[in-house]
């Protein structure tokens, strides 16, 4: 059957499933809308967190980025998984014990101040919007690539679907659609990976396969290092970033993961404290399945790409090459007119440009898999993009309806009115996100990675100290958050957009890139908070009791 029909069938069926789930599990109270009525079983919450977490970028781009960066790509692998250890050990159980709806709820109550709450809302909105604009764009790109519509139409279709199930279902609806989306996306990612691993190495487990030998008896990674040396690239298994920068970027991604409001709020949805720990364990296990497969896919496709194209006649290349050339994701320019493809590190001689996304997208064709698998991959990529967008939308809408309206502007709002406000702000947020998706401001691509730095610099220290120190007071926490997020915003706008006089790599402070600067800003946040809290009054005994209480297990 024709590929396009298969894609419509796979996408149509998966969308019908999501909408059906949303109708069955729609929210009828604010508790259900914000935190799914605290009734989500840990395994289901683990899957939902995994889907929430893994975006279109994880699904499509990550393996390709690792493929082109080799060892340096490890920052994403360790950074985006290691944060779950911090979540499970330092944040999730205590925030669940605290038992309210949002992260600003915790900051506002623990630091007994609406200023602290307001700063937290501001940080949550900045972090979530930088993140979601990129997601809506991702939804549009995936739609346009697979369904052959233009990006604007793609964004609009995606917007309508998310609007429907996020507004109707709230957190409860989103949770169960995310469970379904996780199943779709992990199946779609693993199937081609397993096939390719089996073809290249004879081992069906990709994680073991990429450490094995190919049919010529040479270890795959040794062969790849050799190919890289020959063509002038840096060795695949060692990096070219400085060790210090790798250290700081990994730390910023880990701590940022633990500070992202849309991830933290998932742990408010379970029944008890021990379930919050269990959810984090399941979530990381489900994420690790994809994250340990991605580096294997990266190696298979990198080797395959070099062996297929390097010094081969352009006319003799396989059919998939030509097909992807048509999309502009691969481009070839015969600089020395010899009809062969020179793929080397030197930009003067190199004739081939390859987009990172191709490494995952072209996999099924390279492995010669049937059309229905490509269709499932399309559904998987859409599941990844939609689930993340929906989770972020919910954070934005609850920040507005709960933290701003209910807690700060109009405390006497009735539950019914608050629920309407929550739904309306979700609608508003989707439209704004869709606008950014269709007219992406130049900074979106640059800032998605920086959302982690912002979260690390603002939330993480305030929450951790709120739990582990009884003496941390509102003056310290507010000053720390404000200094942390402003410092991060300053560094990122200076070196990414050239504000405040701009600057190049040479001017980086201590050689730390903007991506890694979140770790530095976080340390500054800690230092500022602790120093200021020493010179200002400690919180009164009610607050110290609150802290003691969140440290105890349930029902005590």
């Amino acid at each position: 059957m024709e590929l396009q029909y298969w894609i419509w069938i796979a996408v149509g069926l998966s969308f019908t499933l999501y909408i059906t789930i949303a109708i069955i599990t729609r929210a009828s109270s604010t508790g259900e809308f914000y935190i799914a009525g605290k009734g989500v079983p840990p395994i289901a919450n683990g899957m939902a967190t995994a889907a929430d977490w893994m975006s279109a970028a994880s699904f499509i781009s990550m393996a390709g980025i690792i493929s082109f960066n080799g060892y340096d790509g490890s920052v994403y692998l360790m950074g985006w998984t290691g944060g779950y250890v911090l979540l499970a050990l330092l944040l999730a159980p205590y925030l669940r014990k605290f038992g309210k709806f949002t992260v600003p709820d915790f900051i506002g109550d623990r630091y007994y101040s609406n200023v602290a709450r307001g700063v937290a809302v501001f940080c949550a909105l900045i972090v979530s919007f930088t993140y979601i604009a990129g997601q809506m764009r991702g939804v549009g790109v995936v739609f346009s690539r697979y369904l052959e519509v233009d990006i604007t139409t793609g964004v609009l279709i995606g917007m309508l679907i998310v609007l429907f199930y996020a507004v109707l279902g709230g957190m409860k609806g989103i949770t169960y659609t995310q469970v379904a989306q996780y199943c779709v996306l992990i199946f779609a990612f693993m199937l081609p990976a397993i096939f390719i691993s089996w073809m290249v190495t004879g081992n069906v487990i990709p994680q073991i396969g990429f450490g094995s030998a190919g049919s010529d008896g040479v270890y795959l990674l040794d062969k790849l290092d050799g190919l890289h040396r020959e063509l002038g690239f840096h060795e695949y298994t060692s990096g070219k970033k400085s060790t210090l920068d790798v250290f700081f970027i990994t730390a910023a991604l880990m701590v940022g993961t633990a500070g992202l409001p849309h991830v933290i709020v998932r742990f408010f949805t379970v029944k008890k404290v021990s379930d919050a720990r269990k959810s984090a364990g399941w979530a990381l296990l489900f994420i690790a399945i994809l994250y340990t497969t991605a580096p294997a896919v990266a190696v298979f496709s990198r080797t395959n790409l070099i062996e297929t194209v390097s010094n081969k006649a352009h006319a003799s290349l396989p059919q998939w090459f030509e097909k992807w050339e048509a999309t502009g994701l691969i481009s070839y320019e015969d600089k020395n007119q010899d009809g062969l493809v020179q793929y080397v590190a030197d930009p003067q001689i190199n004739e081939l440009k390859v987009d990172a996304d191709i490494m995952v997208l072209a996999n099924p064709e390279i492995a010669d898999l049937p059309n229905w698998i490509i269709a499932i991959m399309a559904a998987g990529a859409l599941a990844a993009a939609l689930s993340t967008a929906a989770g972020l939308l919910l954070v934005i809408s609850s920040s507005v309806s709960h933290d701003l309206i209910k807690k700060m502007i109009k405390p006497d709002v009735s539950e019914k009115e608050e629920l309407i406000a929550a739904r309306l702000s979700a609608v508003g947020a989707v439209m704004l996100a869709a606008y950014f998706g269709i007219n992406p401001p130049g900074f979106v691509a640059a800032t998605v990675a920086l959302a982690f730095g912002l979260a690390a610099a603002s939330f993480f220290p305030a929450i951790v100290m709120g739990i582990f120190s009884k003496k941390m007071n509102k003056e310290g926490a507010v000053a720390g958050m404000v200094v942390g997020i402003l410092l991060m915003l300053f560094y990122m706008t200076k070196f990414k957009f050239g504000w405040f006089g701009g600057g190049s790599e040479k001017d980086w402070w201590f050689g730390i890139s903007p991506e890694g600067f979140g770790s530095f800003a976080m340390l500054v946040n800690f230092v500022v908070s602790i120093t200021i809290s020493k010179f200002t009054p400690a919180p009164d005994s009610d607050i110290q009791k609150l802290v003691e209480n969140i440290r105890k297990p349930d029902d005590d």
Partner: protein
């Protein structure tokens, strides 16, 4: 009060031990010591590279499940002391 204090102290002890392991496998083996470990070969993998792209992630998953086990045991003990 002593009972609550002991619970918290034991929890902190677990946290410190598990976070030291967390730091060692990722920032230690995967980054700071990666170059030296790369001289050791494990099957087709150089060890430092393996920790950075595989090993650290497996250890992360194990760490959380160990913490779940330890805390469930501690919660039970805490309950029995009542």
């Amino acid at each position: 009060m002593n009972r609550v204090n002991n619970y918290w102290k034991t929890n902190l002890k677990y946290l410190v031990i598990l976070l030291i392991i967390w730091f060692t496998v990722s920032f230690g083996f995967g980054i700071l010591l990666a170059d030296s470990l790369n001289k050791i070969q494990m099957g087709g993998f150089k060890l430092g590279f393996w920790f950075a792209q595989q090993g650290a992630i497996y250890v992360f998953v194990i760490l959380i499940f160990v913490y779940i086990y330890l805390m469930n045991r501690l919660d039970q003990k805490f309950k029995n002391q009542k």
